[in-house]
């Protein structure tokens, strides 16, 4: 495989005495879904926060296309093509689905100084928002306010907003959490579809889903990586069975 699009090397984050993420290395490649699994508190969300620039790491480095981006502020990383979704819905509740996504898309074409131009007249952002809403399967709800959506639809909106910024790297924090079986199915199809042209990091609790879509899996326990490999390798790994999968 070619060089990684996005890579973490020996990433560590401490909160006081607690080591939330310890010496974690992951590499994301184009066309690949790299799943990170682990029990609650294993440091998965913190890892995404570190990779997306939301938190600075205590040590270690983050590389984008071979370039050191460890200390880049989050907006700059976003511009370089790092998109993320949140585990807890993190949307603009009073705004419409369309405006939620348009605002996300607008981040690529900000022109804040053009105060006389109407935002709605910005073609790039409206088209990209529409495409993202369609991909996430929310077209019928575009004019509804985000607050009025069901939980599953809010999760879809979370992904749509991430896609609207047209990132190359997707860091998805439990996109399936709280979704019904049908919605989960749709989302997994979407993830498979998104592999082309994207490098995806998927943090997920749903083991069946992870083993169904992931190309590589990294298992974290107490902030550290205990195994990484293909789904088959991870499934048969002794440490993983002992520490995480337990009786399965």
């Amino acid at each position: 495989m070619s060089t990684a699009w996005f890579e973490a090397r020996k990433l560590t984050r401490r909160f006081g005495a607690l080591v939330a993420v310890s010496d974690v290395s992951v590499a994301l490649h184009e066309g690949e879904i790299h799943a990170v699994i682990g029990t609650n508190g294993a440091g998965k969300s913190t890892l995404i926060n570190l990779l997306s620039g939301e938190l600075p790491p205590t040590s270690g480095e983050v590389l984008l296309g071979g370039q050191d981006v460890t200390h880049w502020p989050q907006p700059k990383l976003a511009h370089a093509g790092i998109g993320r979704s949140y585990q807890r819905n993190n949307i603009f509740l009073p705004l419409t689905v369309a405006e939620n996504c348009r605002l996300a898309a607008q981040a690529r074409v900000q022109r804040p100084w053009a105060w006389w131009e109407s935002a709605q007249a910005c073609r790039t952002s409206t088209t990209r928002a529409k495409a993202a809403i369609e991909r996430a399967g929310l077209s019928a709800f575009a004019q509804r306010t985000a607050a009025s959506l069901s939980h599953g639809q809010k999760r879809q909106l979370e992904i749509a907003m991430c896609l609207a910024t047209e990132p190359r790297v997707l860091l998805l924090d439990e996109p399936l959490a709280g979704m019904g079986p049908e919605e989960s199915h749709r989302m997994l199809d979407l993830l498979r579809e998104l592999k082309t042209g994207h490098a995806i990091l998927l943090v997920e609790h749903d083991m069946d889903a992870v083993f169904a879509v992931a190309d590589r899996i990294t298992v974290m326990v107490n902030g550290a990586v205990i195994a990484t490999g293909t789904p088959d390798e991870v499934r048969t790994n002794r440490d993983v069975q002992a520490a995480y999968l337990g009786g399965h």
């Binding site: 907006p75 949307i91 348009r102 981040a107 022109r111 804040p112 105060w115 006389w116 935002a119 910024t165």
Partner: protein, 329 residues
């Protein structure tokens, strides 16, 4: 879509009607019009500019400032400090100093306070506002605690042609009306633009805006500066109207008044800011004519109004035509 469109043309019609009424007001016969009421309404409109500028910050960017009077007062002091003793000063220069100076001050203070959030932001803006207050109150740069006079109203000549005479009460009134229209026009455009939409996004969810790729700090700072400049415009008009400035207009009481205006009128609405300024100034005039303890009466009124109208006066308007308006808001 069609209903929201016709509704927005309804609010345009309401604005046009309101401005038309305000424009003919000074020409009305004595019991309604007349010098006293004309001057009172000019004062109301100046406060409306001040309130609308704060609305950008509080109602649209989500930054609750208790130091906004610093920029209003700075605009007023810019006029007083540039006013000559024996003749009318150059109004354009004063206007530029008031608006530009207030903007620069907002840039400096904003750069220092913008990293704080929530209650800390309120406290730090309060502190900087009081800092500016004490600079003018305790030093001799502009009359100290006694305040300073503007003996002649600013002259706004264009190439030697006096197109408007601010000494004339009616002319001054119309000039203020024009400034209010300009302020609301600029703010409407700003809020319609990508910049304005981004501010509203920041108000609702700053974290998400950063994740999408917005440098939210710069956006908030820009909002702070624009609001400061428009407050400076209000201060310019205040000094021109009264010909006298005191440190009181820099104090946190004054900032608090503007906050009460926009809460009374309705947060997140320009019409609300204007309605709030009208209600605030007119009611305080009325109550103070009724009794010496008018502030007690006024305070009770505000508590009742806020309890009954959580969306402010603008919420009343929103309820008027149909419930569909809510969707558009």
């Amino acid at each position: 879509m069609t209903s929201s469109k016709s509704l927005s043309s309804l609010s345009v019609a309401a604005w046009v009607l309101a401005f038309a009424l305000l424009a003919v007001f000074p020409l009305l016969p004595e019991p309604i019009g007349g010098k006293f009421h004309t001057e009172l309404l000019a004062k109301v409109m100046i406060m409306a500019i001040f309130a609308a500028s704060l609305q950008l910050l509080v109602g649209y960017t989500g930054l609750v400032s208790l130091g906004h009077a610093a920029f209003f007062g700075f605009g007023a002091y810019a006029v007083a400090m540039l006013a000559p003793m024996s003749e009318a000063g150059n109004g354009w220069l004063m206007l530029a100093a008031a608006v530009g100076g207030a903007g620069l001050l907002a840039l400096v203070i904003g750069a220092l306070v913008m990293r704080t959030q929530g209650i800390y932001f309120i406290m730090v803006t309060l502190a900087f506002g009081q800092l500016v207050y004490f600079v003018f109150h305790d030093t001799k740069i502009a009359g100290g605690s006694d305040g300073a006079y503007v003996y002649f109203k600013p002259a706004l000549a264009i190439g030697g042609w006096q197109w408007i005479d601010l000494e004339q009460a009616n002319s001054f009134y119309w000039f203020v009306l024009g400034a209010l229209a300009l302020t609301l026009g600029v703010l409407t455009l700003v809020l319609r633009s990508r910049f304005g939409h981004a501010l509203i996004g920041i108000k609702h969810n700053e974290q998400r805006m950063r994740a999408a790729g917005y440098s939210t700090l710069l956006y908030k700072l820009a909002s702070f500066v624009v609001a400061g400049m428009l407050a400076g415009l209000g201060g310019f008009l205040y000094a021109a109207q009264y010909g006298f400035v005191t440190p009181e207009i820099l104090s946190w009481h004054y900032s608090g008044n503007a906050l009460v205006m926009i809460i009374l009128g309705g947060l997140g609405s320009l019409g609300g800011a204007v309605a709030g300024a009208f209600a605030f100034v007119l009611l305080s005039e009325w109550f103070s004519a009724l009794t010496k303890h008018w502030q007690l009466l006024f305070g009770s009124f505000i508590i009742v109004a806020v309890a009954l109208l959580p969306q402010g006066l603008a919420g009343l308007w929103a309820r008027l035509p149909s419930s569909q308006r809510k969707e558009a808001a």
